[in-house]
């Protein structure tokens, strides 16, 4: 965990997680397979997320899921899980573990702060708790997960440097005024 920035009402930190992207049709066989191999039942409603301290399972769209594993794991475990899911002809699992970066934002001013970098509507009625969205933040394609008191934002690792700089720059300017 790295502290990225902390200003009144906004705290941003960066974490390292493992992740799998799963494509499939969301029908019974799919759900059973996933539950069998991960011990978690995949969310069924579009944009819905299920989470606890160890995982964050999201349905990104009608045939795409994202499973973020937050407890400590060895890469072999993840790769085995991926190959195991891929034995199923109707599913594609890809390991996303080291190609993404994960930021967590909390604080009472987090909405206003994030809206310096994105047009996305963060209001409760448009982006309720326990849902996710894919949108553009700081001109980068990101996924944003609403965990209630905090947001998790992920994007491609190659943008890490630029994204960190944009976050810090935004904090610097909003704090100065």
């Amino acid at each position: 965990m790295t502290n990225i920035l902390s200003i009144p009402g906004v705290k941003v930190s960066q974490k390292d997680y493992h992740q799998i992207i799963i494509r499939g049709n969301g029908l019974e066989k799919f759900n059973n397979t996933i539950e069998e191999k991960t011990s978690i039942k995949p969310p069924s409603k579009n944009l819905e997320i299920k989470y606890d301290l160890n995982y964050l399972f999201a349905k990104n769209s009608f045939d795409q899921w994202s499973l973020i594993l937050m407890d400590k794991k060895e890469h072999h475990q993840i790769l085995n899980l991926v190959s195991s899911i891929n034995t199923n002809e109707n599913m594609l699992a890809s390991d996303y573990s080291y190609g993404q970066v994960y930021f967590e934002i909390e604080g009472e001013n987090k909405d206003y702060f994030i809206n310096q970098l994105t047009h996305f509507d963060l209001r409760e009625e448009k982006f309720p708790k326990s849902t996710m969205a894919q949108t553009i933040i700081a001109r980068i394609d990101c996924s944003i997960y609403n965990l209630g008191n905090k947001f998790v934002i992920t994007c491609n690792k190659s943008y890490e440097d630029y994204f960190q700089k944009r976050l810090k720059d935004s904090a610097l300017l909003s704090n100065a005024s």
């Binding site: 944009l47 769209s61 949108t135």
Partner: protein
């Protein structure tokens, strides 16, 4: 910056989408059997009417799914959004009542529209 309703993600800013041109242009099942002219029509020709237009959009900076839109190209109003596998709404469903703000005549009444 219009607001577009992705059928999967809800209303989003236009900047998250990419326009996909005319909808319901089906790739011929047997391209080899088509004459050069007919094949050329499929590859190069698209309609561009002033007024009610059936088009496609993709949520390129979001869920990356394609969907169809009925839009009035004169006023930029989106009249209907429907999924790729849903039935195409009939033209009679839509009323082209609003005159474009610069006072131009309705679709078909002038020489502005590119006729099919």
């Amino acid at each position: 910056m219009i607001l577009i309703k992705c059928p999967y993600c809800g209303y989003r800013d236009q900047s998250e989408f990419t326009s996909g041109g005319e909808a319901h242009v089906i790739r011929p099942k047997n391209p080899q059997s088509l004459s050069d002219k007919d094949w050329g029509e499929y590859v190069f020709y698209r309609n561009n009417p002033k007024g009610i237009f059936y088009e496609r959009w993709v949520h390129s900076h979001g869920c990356k799914k394609w969907f169809n839109v009925v839009r009035n190209t004169a006023t930029d109003q989106i009249l209907k959004v429907y999924k790729v596998n849903e039935k195409r709404p009939d033209l009679s469903e839509f009323e082209n009542t609003l005159k474009s703000p610069s006072g131009e005549p309705l679709v078909g009444s002038g020489n502005f529209a590119v006729k099919k």
